[in-house]
Assembly symmetry: C2
Homo-oligomer: 346 residues x 2
DNA sequence: TCGTTTTTCTAGAACGATTTAGTAGAACGA
DNA sequence: TCGTTCTACTAAATCGTTCTAGAAAAACGA
């Protein structure tokens, strides 16, 4: 095993001190061009790839990476275009500041392993994407003194947030449904207590996710007299919506509308209808939340939120020292498409 | 400024040596349960978040992260479901090994900044996703002694690859087109020389991307007599396909088929047709590559490749010491849908 | 009982860089 | 000519861990 080439090796070979080699890489104006040239040449000759990342991070206290925290599995995150849109926006800003993104899944089930991962992560700041209040990983980050920006309001541990008004947005959807005469609605939520094999109906206080609770409260606000049933087919995914809606449709007690709390779940619900010969908007109303690209194609009524802008804004708060506004509320908009229609009278 | 709480602080407070504190976190079986308990309690009391990531990485030489290298902007990567599928597969394996993913965009234009980012990245291994041979960042990684697995065959710097047979797959598509009688085909490629405002026609040797060249060669192989024009509307994205196809359709010299080298571009081309009142499969044939979910919805003829499996396999090669097979060729399949039809006779 | 093994803990040297404070020598102004 | 200011470089401390080697005490075997 040949000993590793370090800044010291290069220094010796070039006949200068280690500090000078360091400067050659980091502060080119601190030394003469001639010497710098010589050092770089020597480094290339020795196969020295430049200052080691870990050592630099240790000494200078900067990791050059933003941590991105997701609830649930990373693989789920990528299956929702909504999450992907957020990442795209965040990535755009990260690029600008030549910073990398460190993706970290923190399960809401196996709390310990997620918290552990966060503890060990080499990051300077963190973006909190749909992680519930009170998750120990957040306290961990706070302890580590890592600035956080959340996609939810009122994360008190976070140093800022970029969010939408979940309650108002959902209330707008509720108003839409109420106006169409719907009084019996099934709400599709994300829950790790259910699986696509065995969808379940939940009580309001069993809903784990903060945003979900707010959205349900929003619906309730503008549909005070409606019957709202909360159903889950598992994680936030197409398959879960498919399963949960299928389960509901096959039951004796069909609602007149299915309100997915995310588009992916709502799209799953539309699929469940199709396989049963039902037409969304005519036989049953389906609505979503987010307005991902596929929602338009499918003709899904939904709440549009500017997800990529959300990602960008979070990036700015984390990386741009000039970003002063610590709390941003992004606008949302009800988008009515073919999947919603009047409730049948009977 | 209060001094930072380190392993030393905790050691002193708990009345043990720093080594023992370290062991409390990393090798629980090396010390008595009682002492471990005491240390952890003291740590919590002091607000010590556990061993510092950078220091640990320096000392133990492990960063606990896989670098993911993309050509082009990270934000583009997320706009292609194909890339997202790859990430989902990779993430799945990363989770299993409790390793994080460090996303690193390395532009093919601003070579230097990308190479720099790679130099500084704290990673143990790297997944190379569609990066061209000869990109200096790869040599950089090689120098750093970081094992790489590529999604392309024959990256000689990489220690393994998981790929499809680009040439054969494209040849299958060419055969399909030839059989339908197409002899005048426009190929849509990804190129940073073009923009969606100004699509351009390229020579074969101007095509920057290795995989693109192989796919074009594959088409040529089974369509030896056809006229193949290579056109680009910019980066690999829906908008680029839309622009490039629009430009072609508005010209005096329409082809009978448009072959996108990715589904996102092909879907853009289908959209361009629709806005001009043309029906894919009847007026003009459109084909793609990848078989992303949207391809099925849109009825796009394409080459299916198991992208998520590709991600998983790359992850295994990088993280699983038991993974011995260094080179994997994944199967592909021609999926014929409504977007392809016979060439008009004239 | 005595030597050997096992358990539990520690001292001190790395890991590879950056930073602070400082030193020669050159350049400058008067 | 002398004191001052730059420029170009260096020595040594330091960042917070983990690791190697080893020591003290406890347990064990015969």
């Amino acid at each position: 095993m040949t000993p590793r080439v370090t800044i010291k090796t290069v220094a010796q070979a070039a006949g200068v001190s280690p500090s000078t080699v360091s400067n050659a890489y980091n502060k080119p104006d601190q030394l003469s061009a001639a010497v710098r040239e010589r050092i770089l040449a020597k480094a290339a000759e020795l196969g020295y790839a430049g200052p080691d990342a870990a050592a630099r991070a240790l000494r200078s206290g900067k990791a050059g990476a933003v941590g991105v925290l997701f609830t649930d599995k990373l693989s789920y995150a990528f299956s929702d275009p909504y999450a992907v849109g957020f990442l795209a926006g965040l990535a755009e800003v990260a690029e600008e500041f030549t910073t990398s993104l460190l993706l970290m899944p923190i399960s809401s089930v196996d709390i310990e392993s997620g918290t552990n991962a966060v503890r060990q992560a080499a990051i300077d700041t963190a973006a909190i994407f749909c992680v519930d209040h009170g998750h120990p990983a957040l306290e961990m980050l706070k302890n580590r003194g890592i600035p956080m920006v959340s996609t939810q309001r009122g994360h008190d541990l976070a140093d800022g947030w970029v969010a939408i008004d979940e309650l108002d947005s959902a209330a707008a959807m509720g108003e839409h449904l109420a106006r169409l005469g719907h009084r019996d609605v099934v709400v599709l939520v994300d829950s790790h207590q259910a699986t696509s094999r065995q969808p379940i109906e939940l009580d309001l206080d069993q809903v784990g996710c903060d945003d979900c609770e707010l959205r349900i409260a929003g619906l309730r606000k503008t549909m005070p007299d409606a019957r709202l049933r909360i159903v889950s087919g598992g994680h936030n995914a197409f398959g879960s919506g498919l399963a949960a809606a299928g389960w509901v449709l096959d039951s004796q007690d069909r609602p007149t509308a299915i309100a997915g709390l995310s588009d992916v779940q709502a799209l799953g619900a539309m699929e469940a209808m199709k396989t049963r010969g039902l037409i969304p908007g005519r036989d049953l109303t389906v609505t979503g939340f987010d307005d991902i690209p596929a929602a338009e194609t499918a003709g899904l009524t939904t709440i549009r939120q500017p997800i990529k802008d959300k990602g960008r804004a979070v990036g700015r708060l984390l990386l741009d020292p000039n970003a002063t506004e610590r709390h941003l509320t992004m606008p949302t908009e009800l988008v009515v498409r073919a999947s919603s229609g009047p409730a049948p009278r009977n």
